[in-house]
Subunit: 216 residues, 2 copies
DNA sequence: GAACTGATGTTATTTCGTTCACAATAACGA
DNA sequence: TCGTTATTGTGAACGAAATAACATCAGTTC
């Protein structure tokens, strides 16, 4: 059940770096450059490209435009990718107008909430009652949702999303959801990340306490 | 340069699950239970515990209270962990009042921004001018910061944080920051995560296109 | 109190992602 | 045109992390 997440993440990162290089006027790029940018070895860059049949020239490296074309097709970036946000509290609303999305070809097309006071179907990005979720998703063919609800609503909301046959969920609730057949889940647990940071800072450099107690 | 991130993350997850079990009235737990909860093998649970000298009883499993005590000490949860937020736009402000933090023993003690219109030193969680960042961090002994600034400010803001000798940064800007000596960085790139989701959904089950072209 | 049961703690094995190493080859220069 | 050089593409080697396997032992039962 090992995730093949990592290589897909790298594809997006390559894409991002390539756009920057293109903006700087470069037309070719070498595996070394991309390796430096992502802090990985050039060999891994070439291997990734090989896996997806992204080919270069034996001496002239890779053509940036060519790579971008192929990556965009691979990542489905040739069309705008529409998402909805379920849970329009502070985080949800912040994400609704998050500027990083448009730049990435992502478009938040609607929000959903159970709290009547935030519902506003006339807004530029409308917020509907969560009761309308299923119909909307079906009608508009939405496949990906961001979930930004409080922890106690997480599990129920996830059931609603599954009932609406959502195919992928980015979960910001502090309750890790388990992925299920037909629906990929990705958990972003901010508290967990911070805890992790505190841990890494506390023991940065030093090994964890009593790492198997090998005598000196 | 392989990360030892994973085991620390699991430690926090064990802790979270253990609290839930405790709330349900359980007093003992077995490696199987925790393995199921985190979707990992029981062997890995025992191995993790062994690494950190978390011991159980050969037959009776582990005592939940005992594990929690030790985990809390390991993760520094015996005292409140204070953090600051740099960049008080929508995301930053949403995080300031994020309810998930207090539950985790995390406390946002201040915000910083360069935009005069959001500065409010009298608020219950004060927002100061970013000019005061360094002095504040020194005075209060802050070690961890959340960075929620727009992409074009990311690099400069990171320099400020380093100058203030911040030890760890959780970066929400859509520009991945490279970690540096003395400062651990953890990037949360929402756009990237969504792209990844789209990719996984597109190819869920099926292998990536032409995976090295092995003939049928 | 002796045999048995069931879970731990740890060693051995496997798996998998990454890096190494190098053969193949396209561009460049004389 | 032919040698040289720089870079790709990929099979082999490596290493780390997860799993499997098992020896060890606390508790339970008769």
């Amino acid at each position: 059940m090992a995730m093949k997440h990592d290589i897909a993440q790298r594809l997006s990162q390559y894409r991002s770096v390539l756009y920057k290089l293109k903006a700087l006027g470069f037309v070719r790029v070498f595996s070394d450059n991309l390796g430096d940018a992502l802090e990985i070895s050039p060999a891994l860059v070439r291997k990734d490209f090989s896996t997806f049949s992204l080919t270069g020239n034996k001496r002239g490296g890779y053509l940036i435009m060519d790579l971008l074309d192929k990556l965009n097709r691979l990542l489905g970036k040739d069309k705008v990718q529409r998402i909805i946000i379920v849970g329009c509290g502070k985080i949800g609303q912040a994400l609704m107008t998050y500027s990083g999305f448009t730049r990435e070809g992502l478009q938040v097309v609607a929000g959903f909430d159970s709290n009547a006071s935030v519902i506003s179907p006339q807004a530029s990005i409308p917020i509907y009652d969560v009761k309308e979720l299923k119909a909307y998703v079906k009608r508009e063919g939405i496949r990906i949702a961001i979930m930004a609800v409080p922890d106690n609503a997480a599990s129920h909301t996830f059931d609603l999303l599954r009932a609406a046959e959502i195919k992928g969920v980015l979960n910001f609730a502090p309750v890790p959801l388990k992925g299920v057949e037909g629906c990929v889940v990705r958990n972003i647990n901010i508290g967990l990340e911070l805890e992790n940071l505190f841990y890494l800072v506390r023991f940065s450099g030093k090994l964890p306490p009593q790492p198997a107690g090998r005598a000196a």
